[in-house]
Symmetry: D2
Amino acid sequence: MTIKLALIGAGRIAKVHAQAIAGSADAELAAVSDALPAAAEALARASGARAADVDAIAADQSIDAVLICTPTDTHADLIEKFAKAGKHVFCEKPVDLDLARAEEVVSIARAAGVTLMLGFNRRYDPNFAGVRAAIDAGRIGDVEMVTITSRDPGAPDLSYAARSGGIFRDMTIHDLDMARFLLGEEPVVVSAHASVLVKPELKGIGDFDSATVILETASGRQAVITNSRRATYGYDQRVEVHGSLGVARAENHHENTVVIGNADGYRSAPLQNFFMTRYTASYAGEIAEFIAALKQGRQPATTGEDGVVALKLANACVQSVETGKRVTV
Amino acid sequence: MTIKLALIGAGRIAKVHAQAIAGSADAELAAVSDALPAAAEALARASGARAADVDAIAADQSIDAVLICTPTDTHADLIEKFAKAGKHVFCEKPVDLDLARAEEVVSIARAAGVTLMLGFNRRYDPNFAGVRAAIDAGRIGDVEMVTITSRDPGAPDLSYAARSGGIFRDMTIHDLDMARFLLGEEPVVVSAHASVLVKPELKGIGDFDSATVILETASGRQAVITNSRRATYGYDQRVEVHGSLGVARAENHHENTVVIGNADGYRSAPLQNFFMTRYTASYAGEIAEFIAALKQGRQPATTGEDGVVALKLANACVQSVETGKRVTV
Amino acid sequence: MTIKLALIGAGRIAKVHAQAIAGSADAELAAVSDALPAAAEALARASGARAADVDAIAADQSIDAVLICTPTDTHADLIEKFAKAGKHVFCEKPVDLDLARAEEVVSIARAAGVTLMLGFNRRYDPNFAGVRAAIDAGRIGDVEMVTITSRDPGAPDLSYAARSGGIFRDMTIHDLDMARFLLGEEPVVVSAHASVLVKPELKGIGDFDSATVILETASGRQAVITNSRRATYGYDQRVEVHGSLGVARAENHHENTVVIGNADGYRSAPLQNFFMTRYTASYAGEIAEFIAALKQGRQPATTGEDGVVALKLANACVQSVETGKRVTV
Amino acid sequence: MTIKLALIGAGRIAKVHAQAIAGSADAELAAVSDALPAAAEALARASGARAADVDAIAADQSIDAVLICTPTDTHADLIEKFAKAGKHVFCEKPVDLDLARAEEVVSIARAAGVTLMLGFNRRYDPNFAGVRAAIDAGRIGDVEMVTITSRDPGAPDLSYAARSGGIFRDMTIHDLDMARFLLGEEPVVVSAHASVLVKPELKGIGDFDSATVILETASGRQAVITNSRRATYGYDQRVEVHGSLGVARAENHHENTVVIGNADGYRSAPLQNFFMTRYTASYAGEIAEFIAALKQGRQPATTGEDGVVALKLANACVQSVETGKRVTV
């Protein structure tokens, strides 16, 4: 049985997902919707699908599931609409920046009996997944300390930042989910520091561009996250997990493998700079997971609940910065 | 103006080229031909093209150029047919294993005034191209010594080997072209050694699986090639160029960036094992070059003549092994 | 003029320092003292010096300076004794585990007009010094975030741990000094977490084996330290400094450069496991700095005051763990 | 029983060996000789030995063995003198540039029943020895191809070059011995190419600065050596051995572990530039081997015979360049 999917949104990431669907033997793209009808038309045509509006998609009994690729502030309403229409839902993170609304929407999906997968795409990166696989295979023993380094090539526009929920809910939230993925135990205490070193204008809207976080679990495992909205050398995305029997890490992706040596030393290429290039494989991986989960009638590896927990941790970071205290989650 | 292309052959590499054409704004795939009509039909349907036989394609005035993706022993005849029909031709290497026939076909294409591009795909690999770009930018000064390491994950079937022209014409020929690409001056003297260390059955057909070659240019630049039909750690493809001001090299592609450390040391991933994975970017790059060359009315970076020169060098390697002497080309 | 030195202590590190002195054109070793006279005799003989007791050394007008290489709990008294005797003093860290006593001794040395150099040897490691040199040369712009990873191959004996002042004063203190060295601005706020994951017996004496620290400066620069008393893959000592124009890091020292590849991937050597091997160059460097500072009549790069500041930061870490709050220094 | 040694020569390398002897529990330095008596005096004084002339050393019954650290053209006569005097001999390579004389001297030592160790120091480098250990442990299966890259930071003075025997006998000879060490089977056929790319004046004395060599064994194992008298990025010394089950290589030594990243990529340090720094451990290792072999009454790992075989291979390289043919050894 082929799973029939609809894309809600026809932008950059929707096009990536359309390709992933085209490459799947188990799914096909039936419909595309977008606030700009021409965009929906173009993507539908290139994909052998039809353009449609969200209501028509919700009403279409032949469509099994939707992929929500629209701006953040539309996520919750769209999840609610499609869950109530009985569609399974894949949604890019976050569910919603407001915790109560996020929890409500997750409840609605659960009550409706539909699958709600949240696109924490980094878990599907082959490198990070490889680190987790090494842990699961017992190759590094018991996890003790996780170190996550995540630095964006540049700070966002002020207008984006103002709607983003701030660095912890917009950027760190990926790393908080990654920490959960690698720690193998829920963080219960959070300490966070944050400052503005990159883009002074962020002070005016109460946001930060440089942040460090410590997470601690009940058994004393610790994770450290360092974030910056600056990385002059490309998009910096690394993890390291230290265990009782060994250490596992995932290194960065360089633009190429060229090395040039002379009296000044050896120079290798900077990192891939664009997140969609760096995470190409992870975007394909999350869609493959969504299709596989639906096909097999099981929960996907990242659900709406994961989005709620990560948001709680992000909120705890904000509170820790504001109060100067550890926050218990 | 959009360039109309036809694929001759619908196998593995033809599918890769079809994707590259689909991603081009300057070209479209009009027709697909294959000895197995069903294969042509399937690829045509998936690509928005039509299935057709070679004669129909040759006769179709709307088709500008063909991409020949058929077995080696059909290349020369197909190039001749399409050149005489006025089509520009892209052909996977080699033109022909017989030097006289290869030269004849290149002459025919020249006389017909059509472009004949030979797919020495490795020149379009971003890493090797990056090394060449470093040379062209003067970053390592005058080229002095080139080292090329090329090892296949495994030896070919005997039946393939018997039709392949032997290791020098089948495998080393890529490295001979790469040596020309990086030396910046034509090799004029060749010494080669070869032996059977991997697959004893190759002795029965007079072929080898392990080979080393020295190439020397008129000014004394030297290139060394080492080839093996074995590489237990993946598909090993490296180049290094030593110059008067520095050294440039391209390293291998690993399967992922995971590193695991313990008391036995640090383990990183093996190399990508499949040549089509390793050279994904180079296959896209050669098609982009073909389309760009046609669009701009210029010669492509690798032509039929390059195929002829590389074959002469491969023949010289064979002669050097047989005679125990340096061979002047 | 040759500087005449005496070694107080004839143990492992004293022998290393004796070699460094032997290699200096500006200094000579005149005397060696040790609680075990035979040890002092042996080292003196091998070094062309004489054995003597501490009082004789303090009274010897020909001796310019002493190097204190005795157990931690003797440091303060010995510094006081020799400072009052007008000798310049080099002392391995720490001055004293008690902040008040450490400050007192530093005052005494200052009042006596003698140089008191504290052996924070890691600042003299060529790799870490190279990172600092890159900062000083403006190669990474303004420092924004410092990441220090420091993991010992194993946990100390309980008896050592009980006298050590705990992980923050014994182990982290090196990293706190390194953070100061690299941040270029004094930390003013500290958050620390700590747990027991490696050696459960440490709980009984109120110590920890796994710790993470965030330091923040007045301008918002942040440093993160992760410490473990375990590292199965050797002695792990890394720093990374992220700045407005680039990033600089110092990697670990491996046992050798051998790499072995096969179908399981590529294996390189574990890290040098013994701190005195890893830090060979830094021990020679600190002695060279002491001699150079005396020769040039200037302050050495690390003084008793640096020891006091690092101890204050270590105490702040302890307080942060105990209170669950950020501590202002 | 302590082995009593004498140093013949008091130059740079003799000083290094004096340190190695000082660190040995099984040997002591009794005497030092040099054409410059003051040099012998100074090194003797610093080492607790006495200065003496070669005749006195040869006549001294208490001296067990000598280390010859004098210019190349004195080696053969000194070996002969000391062998006839019943002393065991360690000699830096080569025995002699003339094959007949080298063979004669080796025979004399054999007839005299003394040990003649030749200092092919690179076999004692921990990295290259580690590669060999991996082979011996079966970790890469049967050896198939050896690749040796050896590039000096700069070309020698013309006066040195003129007395050196030429690049093959002076520089390549180390790599020829290394090839033997790693191939595990004697080379029987040699092809060599050579040219002048670095220092045009070398043409006037019939020497070269750039060379490539292929060695082949009876079973078809192949080794490739690339040599240059130029390396702008430090002293380049690498080996790689490809086997039926894996590959083993030894990488270069960098000056430090600092890496700096920015928009131009990542820069690491150049290589250690001075051969005595790069090979510090190997010089200590060869002396330790000499002492151990004498102590245990066994042959050392590298003997005069190894020097003869390597010289034959070097001569074969010269002949191959001159004749343009493979040379059978």
